[in-house]
C-alpha cells in the first residue's frame, strides 16, 4: 500500500502478496447453522450417486446419473433425452432466478453458506485448526522457523488436504457412471482414462482452491460478487457493523472512566479474528465480505460477556440502518423478506417449476421426427405414380420394447412401405418393433398417384399398438413433378 502522504501513488507496488488469514474458532447460532449446511451439502454431494432407483431391465438403477456415453440424464423417476435438454435449461433458469431471489432478500447468502468454494474452504480451515491449533498457534507456526514440528505438521495437514481433495474428485465421477461398478474399476485400473484425468484435475483444483487460494477466489476470480451489486437494493439484508451504536470505540476500562464518551464497540478485534476472508467488517460493506455471519456470532459473544445488548454487528438493511441511525426502529425481518420484489422473483421461480412439472407429467414417451429426402425430392415410378422418400426417427423413450404403427393422413391413394417391405406388399400403414429406450431410424417410402398438386402437406403419425395409443405426428410435404416436366 502507498503511504497516505504519497498523493501520486507513484511508489505504489504493482503486486501484493496474499495476507495470511487464520480465522479463530467461534461458536454461536450462525456457526451451528453453517455446520448444518456444510453437513447437508457434503452429504448430498458424496451420497447422491449411491442412491439406487429401480427402473426395470433396460435402464440403469442409479437414482441420479448423467449418462454422457448413451446421452441420457436420469434423476429419480425422470429420464431426460438430449432433445429434452430444455428441462435442464429450465432448471438452470430456476437456479438463476433463485439466486436473484436469495440475493435480493438476504444478500450474499449463497456466498456465505452454500457456495462450494465457501463450504470446502470452511472444511479446510477446520483441518488447519485440527492440525495447527487455533488462530494464535497458526500465526506462531506460520511465522516460526522450519523446525521438525512445523515440517511434520505441514506434511500431515497437506496429506489431509490431499485426501479430501481426492475424495472430492472421486465423488464427482460417480455421477457419470454406475457408482459401485466404477469404484471397482477405478481401484483395479480398468476405468476409462477420462475418469482418472477428471479425478486428477479435480484433486488438484480442490487442493489449490480450497487449501491455498480460498478467499482469493472470491475477491479476485469470482464474478458473482460483482454481479450481486446489481441484484441487491436498500432492502436486502447485509451483515452490518452498526457504527452509530459502536463508535467511538473504546475499551471497557476507558468507558468506565468516561461514561457516555464511548460507543458499544470495545475494539476487541474478535470480528476480524474470526473472519474467513480476513476483512474488517467495521469498514463497511465490501467485496471481501461473503456474509457468513461468523462476526455476528463473535461480537454477540463478546457483548454478552461485557453485559451489553447483542447485535452490534447484525443482519440489517441499508434502509433500516438509516432509520436506526436517526433513532428509529427497523422493520421486522419478515416484512423485509416479503416485499414485492422478492415475491415477484418467487412467483416467476415457482411458475417455471410448476410449468416444468406439468409438462413432465404430460410428455409422451413416443416421439416421431420426419425428414423429407431432398435428393431426389420425388421419384417417377414406371406406372405413373410418384414416390417420395422419408427418413423417420422414432424415439421409444420408455424402458420397454414397443410395437407401433406408422400411418399417413391427408394423402389420397398413398401406399407406404419400409426397406424391409416392398411396393407389392405396401399398404395403408406399417408396423414396427421398437427397442426399449432407443431411437429407431427408418427409411419410409410413400407412393401416391401422379395427378395432384406439385407440393402438398400431409401428416405422418405414429401410435402405440400395445395398450397405450398415445403417439406423435408430423406434418410434411409430398412433392410431384411440376406440370409439363
Amino acid at each position: 500500500m502507498a503511504s497516505p502522504d504519497d498523493l501520486t501513488g507513484e511508489n505504489a507496488p504493482l503486486y501484493a502478496a496474499r495476507k495470511g488469514v487464520y480465522p479463530k474458532r467461534v461458536d454461536g447460532p450462525f456457526r451451528r447453522f453453517k455446520w448444518a449446511i456444510m453437513g447437508i451439502t457434503l452429504a448430498i454431494y458424496y451420497g447422491t450417486p449411491w442412491i439406487r432407483w429401480d427402473r426395470g431391465l433396460y435402464a440403469p438403477d442409479q437414482a441420479v446419473l448423467v449418462d454422457l456415453a448413451n446421452r441420457r440424464f436420469y434423476m429419480f423417476q425422470i429420464e431426460i433425452w438430449p432433445h429434452e435438454f430444455y428441462y435442464v435449461a429450465g432448471l438452470l433458469i430456476m437456479a438463476g432466478i433463485g439466486l436473484f431471489l436469495v440475493t435480493s432478500a438476504v444478500g450474499r447468502a449463497w456466498c456465505g453458506y452454500a457456495c462450494p468454494q465457501t463450504v470446502w474452504t470452511d472444511l479446510f480451515q477446520h483441518v488447519d485448526r485440527l492440525v495447527d491449533g487455533d488462530r494464535n498457534a497458526q500465526i506462531r507456526l506460520a511465522n516460526g522457523p522450519w523446525t521438525f514440528e512445523k515440517i511434520s505438521k505441514r506434511a500431515i495437514k497437506y496429506l489431509i488436504y490431499l485426501t479430501i481433495a481426492f475424495w472430492t474428485g472421486g465423488a464427482w465421477i460417480m455421477y457419470f457412471a454406475d457408482a459401485p461398478t466404477l469404484t471397482v474399476e477405478f481401484w483395479t485400473g480398468q476405468a476409462a482414462p477420462i475418469a482418472y484425468a477428471t479425478v486428477a484435475v479435480l484433486t488438484a483444483t480442490t487442493f489449490i482452491l480450497g487449501g491455498f487460494m480460498r478467499e482469493q477466489v472470491c475477491i479476485y476470480m469470482c464474478p458473482w460478487p460483482r454481479i450481486q451489486t446489481a441484484m441487491m437494493d436498500e432492502k436486502s439484508l447485509l451483515v452490518t457493523y452498526k457504527d452509530w451504536r459502536g463508535e467511538p470505540r473504546g475499551s471497557v476500562k476507558k468507558a468506565e472512566a468516561h461514561p457516555g464518551a464511548f460507543g458499544d464497540c470495545i475494539d476487541c478485534n474478535q470480528c476480524v479474528a474470526v473472519c474467513p476472508t480476513g476483512i474488517d467488517i467495521r469498514e463497511g460493506p465490501q467485496i471481501g465480505c461473503i456474509t457468513c455471519a461468523l462476526c455476528i456470532d463473535a461480537c454477540d459473544g463478546v457483548m454478552k460477556q461485557v453485559g451489553r445488548p447483542r447485535g452490534l454487528i447484525d443482519y440489517c438493511t441499508l434502509d433500516d440502518a438509516a432509520t436506526e441511525k436517526a433513532g428509529g426502529v427497523g422493520k421486522p425481518v419478515m416484512k423485509t423478506l416479503l416485499r414485492p420484489r422478492t415475491l415477484i422473483y418467487f412467483g416467476i421461480w415457482s411458475a417455471i417449476g410448476a410449468a416444468m412439472l406439468f409438462s413432465l407429467g404430460q410428455r409422451t414417451r413416443l416421439d416421431l421426427a420426419v425428414q423429407h429426402e431432398r435428393s431426389p425430392l420425388y421419384v417417377q415410378l414406371s406406372d405413373g405414380h410418384i414416390r417420395n422418400n422419408y427418413t423417420l426417427k422414432l424415439r421409444n423413450m420408455e424402458t420397454r420394447p414397443r410395437r407401433v404403427a406408422v400411418t399417413v393422413d391427408g394423402l389420397k391413394g398413398a401406399a407406404l412401405w419400409t426397406e424391409a417391405g416392398s411396393r407389392e406388399t405396401a399398404g395403408q400403414r406399417v408396423e414396427i418393433m421398437l427397442s426399449p429406450d432407443s431411437v429407431t431410424r427408418l427409411k419410409l417410402f410413400i407412393a401416391a398417384p401422379g395427378d395432384g398438386p406439385a407440393r402438398q402437406d400431409f401428416t405422418i403419425a405414429t401410435r402405440g399398438l400395445d395398450g397405450d395409443p398415445r403417439g406423435d405426428s408430423d406434418i410434411i410435404q409430398f412433392d410431384r413433378p411440376e406440370a409439363g416436366q
Binding site: 500500500m1 502507498a2 497516505p4 504519497d6 498523493l7 501520486t8 501513488g9 505504489a12 507496488p13 504493482l14 503486486y15 501484493a16 502478496a17 496474499r18 487460494m213 482469493q216 479476485y220 469498514e283 463497511g284 429426402e373 431432398r374 435428393s375 431426389p376 421419384v379 417417377q380 415410378l381 414406371s382 406406372d383 405413373g384 414416390r387 422418400n389 426397406e419 424391409a420 416392398s422 411396393r423 427409411k443 417410402f445 401422379g450
Partner: protein, 311 residues
C-alpha cells in the same frame, strides 16, 4: 491524467487517475500469485515451443523434439478406424451378396459403407442420393431398370460397367442410329414416335401411330419387344412406362431415334475392392427400386477379373 491521481479515502489505495461521471478506478495492486501464474505460463510456453512444432520458417516450421504432427495423428486415427471396421468388412466379404438382406445389421453396415463410396465415385454422374440427371444419367431410385434391379444384377453392372470397349464381360448393347444412318426417313421416324407415345399412354391412337407400329415391329421389336416391354438381357428400355431416361416427349424421342446416346458407365471391378463393390450394390438396391427376384444374368459373374480382356 496522472495529475488527477489521488488516494482513495475508504481503501487507502491510489486511483489510476481516470474518471467517468464521478466513477474512478482504483489502482489496486495485482495479487502476487497472478504474477506467478503468468511466469508459470511462460515456462509452459517455453516447454511447448521445444516439444511441439512452433516457429514458422520460410518453407516449414520447427519440428519439435516430440516429432508430433497433425498428419501422423490423422494417419493413426484412420488406422484405428480401419481396424475398428475390419470385423464388419470381413463379415460382409464372407457373406454372399444375396444373403445380406436377411441380416439386417450387416445389411445396414453395407448400405452405409456403400453410401460413403457412392459419394466418392458415383455422385459425379448419378447425383447425390442416386437421383440421376435428366436426359443424361439414369436415376437409381426408381423402379425401372435397364439391366436389372436385383442385388446380383446391380453388382454385375457396377463391377463390369456398361459399354466398356476394353472389357469382354461388360454390359453391351447398341441401338442403331436410325436417322443418321438413313435406315428410316424423317416421316417414318415421326410415325414410330407416334406409336411409342401411344403405347406409353401419352397420345391417342392415330393413323400415324398405326403406320408407326408396322415400322416398330420391323425395326425395334427385336430388342424392345413386340409390345415395347423392353429386354433387360440387352439393356433395352421398357417403352410403355412413365420413366424416360432421355425424355418421352416428341422432340426427345425423335432425337433418340435419329442418333441414340448409347451411354457408357465405367467398370469399377478393377478399381474398387470386391467388398466396396458389394456395398455399393446394397446401397443402390436400398434406394427404393431394389428388386427381390433375381433376374437371369447372361454372363456369369465369376468370370470376374480374368474376363476383362487384359491378362
Amino acid at each position: 491524467m496522472v495529475d488527477r491521481k489521488r488516494i482513495d479515502e475508504a481503501t487507502g489505495t491510489s486511483t489510476v487517475g481516470h474518471e467517468w461521471d464521478g466513477i474512478e478506478e482504483l489502482d489496486t495492486p495485482m495479487p502476487r500469485w497472478w504474477l506467478w501464474t503468468f511466469y508459470a505460463s511462460i515456462v509452459w510456453a517455453a516447454g511447448y515451443v521445444v516439444l511441439y512444432p512452433a516457429w514458422p520458417m520460410l518453407n516449414s516450421a520447427t519440428q519439435g523434439v516430440l516429432g508430433w504432427s497433425s498428419r501422423s495423428d490423422l494417419e493413426r486415427e484412420m488406422q484405428a478406424h480401419a481396424e475398428r471396421r475390419a470385423p464388419i468388412t470381413n463379415a460382409i466379404a464372407a457373406t454372399p451378396l444375396t444373403d445380406l438382406p436377411a441380416k439386417p445389421e450387416l445389411m445396414q453396415a453395407a448400405v452405409q459403407g456403400g453410401a460413403a463410396a457412392f459419394r466418392v465415385h458415383c455422385v459425379q454422374c448419378h447425383g447425390a442420393g442416386g437421383a440421376g440427371v435428366k436426359k443424361l444419367y439414369p436415376s437409381l431410385t426408381d423402379d425401372d431398370w435397364l439391366w436389372g434391379g436385383d442385388l446380383a444384377s446391380i453388382e454385375y453392372t457396377i463391377a463390369h460397367g456398361i459399354r466398356n470397349p476394353d472389357h469382354k464381360a461388360t454390359r453391351v448393347s447398341q441401338m442403331p442410329a436410325f436417322g443418321r444412318d438413313g435406315i428410316l426417313d424423317a416421316a417414318q421416324i415421326a410415325d414410330v414416335v407416334s406409336h411409342v407415345r401411344v403405347i406409353s399412354g401419352q397420345e391417342k391412337p392415330s393413323a400415324a401411330a398405326a403406320r408407326g407400329e408396322a415400322l416398330f415391329q420391323a425395326n425395334c421389336a427385336v430388342c424392345h419387344g413386340a409390345t415395347g416391354a423392353g429386354d433387360r438381357t440387352v439393356g433395352a428400355p421398357k417403352l410403355t412406362d412413365a420413366v424416360w431416361l432421355y425424355g418421352g416427349d416428341r422432340d426427345s424421342l425423335t432425337a433418340t431415334i435419329v442418333q441414340p446416346r448409347n451411354g457408357v458407365m465405367p467398370r469399377w471391378g478393377h478399381r474398387l475392392d470386391p467388398v466396396t463393390v458389394k456395398m455399393l450394390a446394397t446401397y443402390v438396391y436400398s434406394l427404393g427400386g431394389g428388386e427381390k427376384v433375381s433376374a437371369p444374368t447372361l454372363a456369369p459373374i465369376s468370370e470376374g477379373q480374368g474376363a476383362d480382356g487384359q491378362p
